[in-house]
């Protein structure tokens, strides 16, 4: 269906190419007039001086970013109706940021890369389906406390720290959660990870690079498993699948590199290659899974778990004190 009156839509992105794409696509929707802004300040200016019916904005921009725009709008700090639909898009999504957006009743998240068709459908849908937005006063009173994070002088990437994904945990809020949003009360247990696979402490493959990659793979699998158990949305599962596949990709890459440079240890590499072959197949199947279908994911957990148990054997893994690292 096509909107029946003329709607003015503001699109905001600091990447001109994306801004022009949004403009071109949304202009092609009948009865839609589009205004562009390439930064948050210009967006606020337009919102103050024009009556905007929908805001579509990137999250990650120079200040004010998309989230700040949403906050200002919903809390009535901008001279524009505070209850217009707001669609956010980004290439990365972070749990805290997504939770904050949900607290401010964002209407939808769009994952990059966007397609013209998908974008049009979303825009038309949100122009036709009104979402209940509370009084501006409610949004003024929201206090968001981000998850506790350890403060470190320099945080190395991909260490043995508990894995924190940069994927959003997107879940539907229940009515009661929605009304009485109190982020401070978020249960600690909700972020605890149940472990489907475990990289044993004090064990090694003999190559610290492989140990690290295996540990990361375990963390990603466990994180994905937890998302699945908590019935997270398909988009979150799909993102996490991508990350598992990337972890497999890295493991293979590191393994091949080590194999080319290390001498001997024939039996280790024969075993490794056999396990990697199976993991590659598993990764391929995982990449093909439709995250909306639980029945496709469930058997893969069994296969992953089985692969893990089969792999964590000699000669692949041995106690750390048995020998030093090869590299």
């Amino acid at each position: 269906m096509i909107p029946t009156r003329t709607f003015t839509i503001l699109v905001v992105d600091d990447v001109l190419l994306m801004c022009d794409f949004l403009f071109k696509v949304i202009t092609s929707i009948k009865n839609c007039k589009v205004l562009k802004a390439t930064d948050g300040r210009t967006a606020i200016d337009i919102l103050e001086h024009e009556t905007i019916d929908m805001l579509i904005t990137d999250i990650e921009m120079n200040a004010p970013n998309g989230l700040e725009l949403l906050k200002k709008l919903r809390s009535g700090a901008i001279n524009n109706p505070h209850d217009i639909p707001v669609l956010m898009f980004s290439g990365n999504t972070y749990k805290d940021m997504v939770l904050e957006c949900l607290a401010y009743d964002v209407n939808d998240f769009l994952a990059k890369p966007l397609s013209a068709d998908g974008l049009k459908k979303k825009v038309v849908f949100h122009l036709q389906h009104e979402k209940q937005i509370l009084d501006a006063e409610h949004y003024k009173n929201i206090v968001f406390v981000p998850e506790k994070k350890e403060v470190k002088a320099a945080e190395p990437a991909l260490t043995a720290e508990p894995y924190r994904s940069n994927v959003a945990i997107v879940r539907s809020l229940s009515a009661s959660e929605h009304k009485g949003y109190v982020p401070q009360e978020e249960s600690e247990t909700e972020t605890e990870l149940a472990e489907l696979v475990v990289w044993p402490e004090n064990s090694t493959t003999g190559f610290h690079q492989l140990d690290r990659r295996m540990l990361i793979l375990a963390q990603r699998i466990n994180f994905f498993h937890n998302l699945f158990v908590k019935e997270s949305k398909a988009i979150a599962l799909a993102n996490e699948i991508k990350r598992i596949v990337e972890a497999i990709d890295y493991l293979i890459y590191v393994g091949k590199k080590l194999q080319n440079t290390s001498d001997g240890q024939q039996s280790f590499w024969v075993f490794f290659n056999d396990r990697i072959q199976k993991l590659t197949d598993l990764g391929g199947d995982l990449a093909k899974v439709n995250p909306k279908h639980n029945s496709q994911i469930q058997p893969l957990f069994k296969r992953i778990s089985y692969w893990w148990v089969q792999t964590l054997n000699r000669p692949f893994v041995h106690p750390l004190n048995e020998s030093d690292h090869n590299e």
Binding site: A157, I248, A287
Partner: protein, 134 residues
């Protein structure tokens, strides 16, 4: 053996798949593709120059933002290798894994040069085709 796209190493990813533009825009007009490539070339070049300047000053927050934007642009025109590299580079910068980021930067420069050459080739080929038609 079934390999998903993300299993391919960086060097196996195509430099430029212009079909991505058609898929994203839902149109296969040659003019649109070339205009998009020209816009990408101009905008991305500006970002790369900024990153080059900032790299020497150590303004990593700004670099991260520029790399993030470059990733978006590259994905929009099907510059897969560039997009993937930016994704990895952005993650390294965000986590301040400077050892890995220092390793990635020279690769970033090389991949950008290769991508740019490929984009120029496409634009040039279109120009030649247009003048032939005239």
């Amino acid at each position: 053996m079934n390999k998903g796209p993300a299993l391919r190493p960086l060097s196996n990813r195509p430099l430029l798949t212009v079909e991505a533009i058609s898929l994203i825009y839902g149109e296969s007009d040659a003019g649109l593709i070339i205009d998009t490539l020209k816009q990408f070339r101009a905008e991305a070049l500006g970002y790369v120059i900024q990153i080059d300047k900032l790299w020497r000053t150590g303004a990593f927050d700004d670099i991260t933002r520029y790399v993030h934007s470059l990733k978006t642009m590259a994905a929009m025109v099907g510059a897969e290798r560039m997009a993937r590299l930016c994704q990895v580079f952005e993650r390294q910068l965000k986590t301040r894994d400077m050892v890995e980021a220092q390793r990635s930067y020279p690769v970033f420069e090389v991949v950008w040069a290769e991508t740019l050459a490929e984009v120029d080739k496409c634009i040039l080929a279109d120009g030649e085709a247009s003048s032939d038609a005239e």
